[in-house]
């Protein structure tokens, strides 16, 4: 099994190498080659997942990666229920997106390059998920960050794209410092980075240290999973091609932080403080990002803020200690968010790159299938039963409440309402109402190579929640499965009626859709909207300007950092103080030489003069002494 696992992880790397080295020759076939290797990976993943469902665990170290002193880091992989789930999600969704990308990227410059990067990304993502120790995980962790960087900057000739890529890498790297510091603490206190060793000893370490470790690791998750305050890179990441947004910035990479917290569950379970921070940051981010999605007009950016918000939900799930709920939402979200991005991509494809919803409207007649799948995905994310989002979101909220976090529950419900509203605002704006499409543009239905993955994902978005999330014989199958590796951390108090909670979250979703309908469909909708905007003008401005977070960061961090480096450190300290100081030392030596040179005239009478002067002084000195 361990070799099957290795093969499954390495398969995308092979695709990457083939396309990378021979891209010039594979040109047209690059997409097919890339997808094939992903398909192989997915096919190999199936028996592995079945093996894990049967309750087996594979934990195998292939070779010693770093050996230094008594400290050893193996290169090893681990297959258990948690990583098996990620394996399934990553290979399946990536496979779909690869197929979609064959159509979407067709004819683009650097077609082979695109699939090289995409395969490399999947390889790194699989390492992240399947690693059996923190440093193997870190290879994937930084690897996906790097792939994200090159893929956001895929259209590197656009300055905004190149800048966005760099912003993503640097921002997530700030988080990665936290991750590394966490790992350093683990090395110092546990002497090993292997999950099994660390978790087995966790209860012997002082709780304060565990809290520091969990907080440091969570900083990594904040960066990678775009949580407040390091979320700023994700909206800009939408500069990348849409399949990239769907794969990396919605379905897989950005959820790595959630996976990492769930993976470190034995540590988080020992630290109520650390867990509370995770849940609170998640809840705040969920709400905060939702407010920013309310007023945007850019199709992909709305989805980006929605992703940030939904990852906030997942963080609530893993933060309150119900790790399986976070992972469950991660899984359903992967389906419907990938679907949303890919449909948005289909719209963008049809609109020749336009993303501004104000230039759309009435598209349902032009691209009915895309419209339908997008509505399915929106219903799913809005939490309408029996679609998948309903199940996963509902369990997060009810678990949060039952584990004793009523405020977080309330924030979650409000966010659920806002989610439903902004998703359907987007649907109504784009597909309904009158057409605002500019002259000369002829939107058309997506080609079938793109439609097939859309429908597959749509079916997944509908059924996956129901299959995994319904209570059968007293336990939910996904809970049972995930709990094999990440048990619930804190005791549950059953003091609320589950039915009531379900009804509340359904109401929140339906209400959101209803308000969106009221605001965008009826005849008087426009005056209703302007009335709302006028009434809540200050708030509207905050939402619309995204709370000026980018500007604040620029003012507080980026510009001072640059100016200190340039004006102070370089031009003042380095050039004017240190280097000039060194030159002055040299100059003093030179000047001394010049001063002494006056004595060396070469004229014998001058020397005689000095000699007699010296003799006089000495004689005078002795005379004075004698007298």
């Amino acid at each position: 099994m361990e070799w099957l696992l290795l093969l499954c992880v390495l398969s995308p790397a092979v695709g990457c190498i083939i396309n990378g080295l021979f891209g010039r020759w594979t040109y047209r076939a690059a997409g097919v080659i890339g997808s094939t290797f992903l398909g192989i990976s997915f096919a190999l993943a199936v028996p592995l997942i079945i093996y894990a469902i049967q309750g087996h665990v594979v934990d195998y170290s292939y070779y010693h990666w770093i050996v230094s002193g008594k400290f050893t880091v193996p290169f090893g992989l681990r297959l258990d229920s948690l990583s098996a789930m990620m394996l399934g999600v990553v290979t399946f969704v990536s496979f779909m997106i690869h197929i979609y990308a064959i159509g979407y990227m067709g004819g683009h410059k650097g077609y082979a390059r695109f699939f090289t990067y995409l395969n490399l990304f999947v390889f790194a993502m699989l390492l992240l998920c399947m690693g059996n120790n923190y440093l193997t995980m870190f290879i994937g962790w930084e690897g996906v960050g790097f792939c994200s960087y090159i893929l956001i900057g895929y259209y590197y000739e656009k300055k905004t794209a190149a800048d966005a890529g760099r912003k993503a890498f640097v921002t997530t790297r700030i988080g990665d410092i936290g991750f590394i510091v966490g790992v350093l603490f683990i090395i110092l206190y546990f002497g090993s980075v292997k999950f099994t060793d660390v978790f087995a000893q966790a209860h012997m370490i002082s709780p304060a240290i565990i809290t520091i470790i969990t907080l440091a690791l969570f900083l990594g998750a904040i960066g990678k999973s775009a949580q407040f305050p390091l979320y700023v890179w994700l909206p800009d990441a939408m500069e990348g091609p849409t399949p990239v947004s769907a794969l990396i910035h919605a379905a897989t990479m950005v959820t790595a932080g959630v996976y990492m917290v769930a993976r470190s569950a034995p540590l988080y379970a020992l630290s109520p403080t650390g867990s509370l921070v995770v849940a609170s940051v998640g809840a705040f981010t969920a709400l905060f990002a939702a407010t920013m999605a309310l007023t945007h007009f850019d199709l992909k950016r709305i989805l980006a803020y929605s992703t940030i918000s939904q990852i906030g939900y997942m963080m609530i799930g893993v933060g309150v200690g119900a790790y399986w709920t976070g992972m469950f939402h991660l899984m359903t979200h992967a389906f419907f968010k990938a679907l949303l991005f890919l449909s948005a991509g289909a719209v963008m494809h049809a609109m020749h790159g336009v993303l501004d919803m104000r230039l759309m409207g009435g598209l349902r007649h032009k691209m009915p299938q895309v419209c339908i799948v997008m509505i399915i995905a929106s219903l799913a994310i809005a939490g309408i039963p029996p679609l998948s989002g309903f199940f996963s979101k509902d369990v997060i909220l009810s678990e949060a409440l039952m584990l004793g976090h009523p405020i977080i529950w309330l924030v979650g419900v409000v966010t659920a309402f806002m989610t439903a509203f902004y998703m359907f605002r987007m649907i109504f704006f784009t597909f309904f109402g009158e057409s605002r499409v500019p002259e000369g543009m002829h939107p058309h239905e997506a080609p079938s190579v793109m439609l097939v993955p859309l429908w597959v994902l749509a079916v997944g978005s509908i059924v996956i929640g129901g299959i995994l999330g319904v209570k059968v014989h007293g336990h939910i199958s996904i809970e049972h499965f995930i709990s094999l590796t990440s048990p619930n951390a804190f005791p549950i108090v059953h003091k609320y009626s589950e039915t009531l909670l379900i009804i509340i979250s359904i109401i929140a979703g339906v209400l959101g859709i209803a308000v969106a309908w009221l605001a965008y469909i009826p005849k008087g909708a426009f005056s209703f909207r302007s009335f709302v905007v006028r009434t809540f003008h200050p708030l509207y401005r905050c939402f619309f300007n995204l709370w000026w977070v980018d500007e604040i960061y620029n003012f507080l961090f980026c510009r001072p950092f640059w100016h200190v480096s340039e004006r102070f450190l370089w031009k003042a300290v380095d050039v004017k103080v240190i280097d000039a100081g060194v030159d002055d030392v040299g100059r003093v030596a030179g000047l001394t030489g010049r001063a002494v040179r006056i004595l060396q005239t070469g004229f014998i009478n001058n020397y005689a003069c000095w000699v007699s002067a010296g003799a006089l002084i000495i004689c005078g000195w002795y005379l004075l002494k004698i007298m």
């Binding site: 010693h64 050996v67 400290f71 930084e142 690897g143 700030i174 590394i180």
Partner: protein
């Protein structure tokens, strides 16, 4: 101990001189022949030096492949070459980079080709001698010897301000050398005073550390010599000048090998000979190193000149090596040696990158570049991997050394580790900005449009660097396992002399007339 029964170290050290001799007989107009002969000599040298790697015995800290011949017996001076786990990879790095660097000069050096190659071969002899000498006197001879070819290389084939730059380079490093010479002599005489033996044997000198009030001044003198060479903040200002004015290969060798002499000197002199001072003054070195990590990176970030950026990045990178070394644990020290090797390869390759574009465009200003990725795709890929290795991405060599240095620093003191880890953000900023300014964005400059992608020779030497980068990144153990025993031995030695004294005590002891005693010893020593 010499397991090959063949003076291999003497061979690789003086084999380049045979090359010089042969070159004398080649007509200066026959440039192709001169290049090929030099290349062959360096390649053979490299291939022979790989024998060291394969026959190295990783189970002993004793010097290996030893060549020891009495030289000036009455003074205890020996011709004594040998390597251990600390120097093995620096020797290999030197022979490797010389081959790669020489290949890059085929198109870069068009003027005085014969003289250039002769000087390069002499430089190689000098550099190898420094890393192989186990006799302090011989070490000093090679240390000074290597300065001259480098001085000429920058001074003759350098850029417009080369005279100023060489002057600065020479005076700066020579100042350090003078301190070192005084310190070597003082150690020699003091060692005799306390043990009755006249010797320059480094291992012997280290075996009986001097009283620690004497260690203070000697440590300081060696520190100045090596800190200038590394260069550590604030002794670094010769470096940007020297790099910017040097020809490409000069920068490669300067960054790749010459700077390592400084860090290597710390390993050979400061740590084993003055172990008490390492514990007392280590904090100063670590603080300077942490400053260097941030300072170098931040100043690198704002440079408009590509080569200056890479030069300042060296200051930052070697900060990691110094932290790891003075963390005084096995992870830190192995990380430090790895950092020396990796910095040599990655930064050497970064300078090769600069050189490749400089040959085509004759400028190093970022403002002149842009959009190179579309014009030279093969170059962009190789350059990208090299940039990543410098940035320390897992999977490349840079990560291995960085994480080991961080672990070491963290074990020494949590805050050292956390601060040093923070440097990784800044290095990501400046390296990605560098890459973006050169390779991304649509080019605004028509001069960039017609640039040719790498030819076979350039692809080869860049590619070979990339292969090494990935090899060490994925499977670093062949390197680490060979360092291990030597590192442990050194650490055990240093940590067994951990009684600390304050600087106040030193002053008091000196005030009590010890200084007079030192003078008396050195005067009457012979």
């Amino acid at each position: 101990m010499n397991q090959l029964h063949f003076p291999i170290l003497s061979f690789i050290t003086f084999w380049p001189l045979l090359g010089v001799f042969i070159l004398l007989f080649i007509n200066r107009k026959n440039e192709a022949a001169i290049r090929i002969v030099t290349f062959v000599f360096m390649l053979v040298n490299f291939l022979v030096s790989t024998l060291l790697y394969f026959h190295f015995d990783p189970t002993t800290w004793q010097p290996q492949f030893v060549d020891k011949i009495p030289w000036i017996s009455s003074l205890g001076i020996n011709y004594y070459l040998g390597i251990d786990g600390l120097s093995l990879f620096l020797v290999l790095l030197t022979t490797f980079l010389s081959v790669v660097g020489q290949l890059s000069t085929w198109s870069a050096i068009k003027d005085k080709v014969k003289e250039f190659n002769i000087i390069f071969l002499l430089l190689l002899t000098g550099m190898l001698g420094v890393f192989e000498s186990l006799d302090a006197f011989l070490f000093y001879v090679f240390w000074e010897f290597e300065l001259i070819p480098m001085y000429l290389m920058i001074g003759i084939w350098g850029g417009p301000h080369r005279v100023f730059a060489t002057m600065k380079f020479f005076l700066y490093t020579f100042t350090g050398s003078v301190f070192m010479l005084v310190a070597i002599m003082a150690t020699y005489f003091l060692f005799h005073h306390y043990t009755g033996i006249y010797t320059f044997d480094m291992f012997q000198l280290a075996s009986h550390p001097l009283p620690y009030n004497l260690q203070f001044w000697l440590f300081l003198a060696f520190f100045i010599a090596f800190a200038i060479k590394v260069p550590m903040f604030p002794f670094h200002t010769w470096l940007p000048w020297a790099h910017v004015e040097a020809p490409t290969v000069g920068s490669v060798i300067l960054a790749g090998v010459l700077l390592k002499m400084g860090t290597y000197g710390f390993l050979r002199f400061n740590l084993p000979m003055f172990p008490n001072m390492v514990h007392t003054l280590g904090i100063v070195v670590i603080v300077l190193a942490i400053i260097a990590i941030f300072y170098g990176a931040m100043v690198a970030m704002v440079q408009p000149d590509w080569k200056k950026l890479v030069a300042y990045s060296s200051v930052s990178h070697l900060g990691y090596a110094m932290i790891g070394m003075f963390a005084l644990n096995s992870q830190g020290m192995e990380g430090s040696i790895m950092e020396m090797v990796n910095h040599g390869i990655s930064t050497g390759a970064l300078f090769l990158m600069v050189g490749i574009l400089y040959e085509r465009r004759h400028t190093r200003l970022f403002s002149e570049y842009g959009g190179i990725a579309a014009i030279m795709p093969r170059f962009a890929v190789l350059a990208g991997i090299i940039t990543l290795s410098s940035l320390g991405l897992p999977g490349t060599n840079g990560f291995i050394s960085e994480i080991l240095c961080l672990i070491g620093a963290f074990k020494a003191n949590i805050w050292y580790g956390i601060l040093a880890a923070g440097g990784a953000v800044v290095s990501a900023i400046y390296l990605l900005m560098m890459f973006q300014k050169v390779f991304y964005v649509k080019t605004r400059n028509v001069k960039n449009l017609g640039l040719k992608d790498l030819d076979l020779r350039e692809t080869f030497y860049m590619g070979i660097c990339v292969v090494v980068i990935l090899w060490i990144g994925i499977y670093p153990n062949p390197l680490l396992s060979r360092m291990h025993v030597s590192v442990e031995h050194l650490l055990q030695h240093v940590n067994s002399h951990s009684e600390q004294i304050t600087i106040k005590d030193v002053d008091k002891n000196l005030a009590c007339g010890k200084l007079v005693k030192i003078n008396a010893i050195s005067r009457g020593g012979l």
